[in-house]
Symmetry: C2
Subunit: 323 residues, 2 copies
């Protein structure tokens, strides 16, 4: 009997590193987690992670065939197999992650950032199957993006294409400081933390009543704002409207760059559905050149929310095998 082929998907985050063994249909057969924060040395982290994956693999017995490892990590660089100057991980500088893996396995290891992995995941398992030109925007604590052109992920000359979260909303000074050290980046408006900042701005400027006025900045999060908006809270509604507008404005730029068939929104804020999609779609269309109008689909990600990052990472393996 033919063995069931599987890919290992690994999502390296600041707190946890989650992995899954995934089949060609995007089914996660088995999964596991280790605590990223507990490993001061990258070599020890890789050895532990590899061993933990191996143990999980062995439990599956002889019926599976491992094809390779796909890794999504902040500042992951596919060209070099490295993680470069991550701000959120225990390790500093340029980390030759693929080299460390190569000490333990002869399987191919593909590394990229989580937004790029999400884009490949959408193509391999999700709703971008068969699409040749599309964009995935990941809305988490920041804003990431992955661009697919002519059926291939755009990596760029140095492996860092698709940092849409760090395009500025306007020339000149904006008040919003970004974690990257600059001001006015899109992700200071359109992300889980961006919408919190917008809520505070509206509370400061307006005299509208709102249940959000009883919450501190630290207590606020996009779920709370979403649930307030569903109950008709005027500040929460205005915050979603503004967030969608800022997103739509920049999506029009995205279209003018690569003329995609569709743009997928992925992650926390996208779960607010029409609250974010409607203003984003409206403002994108308003800002589109006529040749683009009415053509670009703005869609929710087709990947299941549970462990979508692991799915995305595992998809790199199939993408590498099949292209």
């Amino acid at each position: 009997m033919a063995k069931r082929q599987i890919a290992v998907g690994i999502d390296i985050g600041g707190t946890n590193t989650v992995f899954g063994l995934v089949d060609r249909d995007g089914k996660i057969i088995s999964e596991g987690v280790i605590k990223t924060r507990e490993f001061e040395e990258i070599e020890v982290f890789v050895a532990a992670l590899h061993e933990k994956v191996n143990v999980t693999l062995r439990k599956l017995g002889n019926s599976t065939e491992l094809l390779g490892y796909g890794i999504g990590a902040p500042m992951g660089n596919i060209h070099n197999g490295t993680i470069e100057y991550p701000s959120n991980l225990p390790w500093k500088g340029i980390i030759p992650l693929a080299d460390y893996f190569a000490k333990h396995t002869s399987h191919h290891v593909t590394i990229t950032n989580d937004a790029n992995a999400a884009a490949v995941g959408e193509m391999v398992y999700g709703d971008a199957k068969g699409m040749k030109n599309f964009v995935v925007i990941t809305l988490g604590s920041g804003l990431g993006s992955g661009f697919v052109v002519d059926g291939k992920l755009v990596y760029g000359a140095y492996g860092f294409a698709g940092e849409l979260g760090h395009t500025a909303i306007r020339p000149g000074a904006s008040n919003r400081m970004c974690g990257c050290g600059r001001k006015g980046c899109l992700e200071t408006y359109v992300s889980a933390s961006g919408i919190k900042r917008t809520v505070l701005k509206i509370m400061a400027d307006s005299i509208m009543d709102s249940e959000l006025r009883s919450l501190s900045f630290n207590e606020l999060n996009s779920k709370v704002i979403h649930s307030a908006a569903l109950k008709g809270d005027p500040i929460a509604l205005e915050a979603f409207e503004h967030t969608g507008k800022m997103l739509g404005f920049k999506l029009a730029d995205v279209v003018a760059h690569t003329d995609p068939e569709a743009i997928f929104l992925f992650g926390g804020l996208a779960l607010a559905k029409d609250l974010i999609f409607e203003p984003a779609r409206e403002y994108m269309e308003q800002n589109l050149l006529s040749i683009y109008k009415g053509k670009v689909k703005l869609l929710p990600s087709g990947l299941s929310t549970h462990n979508a990052a692991v799915l995305g990472a595992s998809s790199l393996v199939w993408s590498y095998k099949e292209i």
Copy 2:
């Protein structure tokens, strides 16, 4: 003796259509022109153009072998072989240009817009030889752009990728009406007409003395402004500074989309060299995420200025043959 292979490059403009017979090294062996405006019917235009090219070809005798036609035209769509809703040509709607050519020739005909043709030209004959990821910005009466990713021009899902001239400079209202019907597009700032508008704005706001104050809007052009700037005219200098800044601001967005190795500036305004390159480079760098800083080369086009558009168009033929 092996025949010399040549490509026909055709640049369709609102007033004139210029063509050239071009060899693999980018040498224009012979050229000609017909008046676009004089042809009300596209069929007659194509017949006349094809015949004129043929006559020119026959003069070269038996020593050459024709490989195909490359055409640069406003709103040229490579996917469909069409020109779609051009605002500046005698013909309206969707014009199936390749089909009309096919009535006269069995050679392959490739059609795209002039900025895309310039990008392919830079790769085939110019300073982007060997580069896999770069962008060409054409600065003429408008602002065009062509994106090359992984060695291939980006056409997008519908054939209209790379309309950087029609990305907006900021969200919300800007005062500058664009020919496309919207407001605040980059080309209302960064183009031959954009810098004229900026000169008028500065003259309106400031009390600085300037030789440009004696010229009407219709008398102004980028050459006059350039020559004033070279003589130290403060309004001309400020206009170039502002133009370069607006360009640099949007170039930072370009980098965040596709992470190119280089960005080439092509056309009239680019001839002002440091007057435009310095503020553009400075403002681009200021607006770049740290991972991109200091990496992206901002360069003048390596194509000869004379008939660069014909060179660009002809390069489509080699690109089609060799990819």
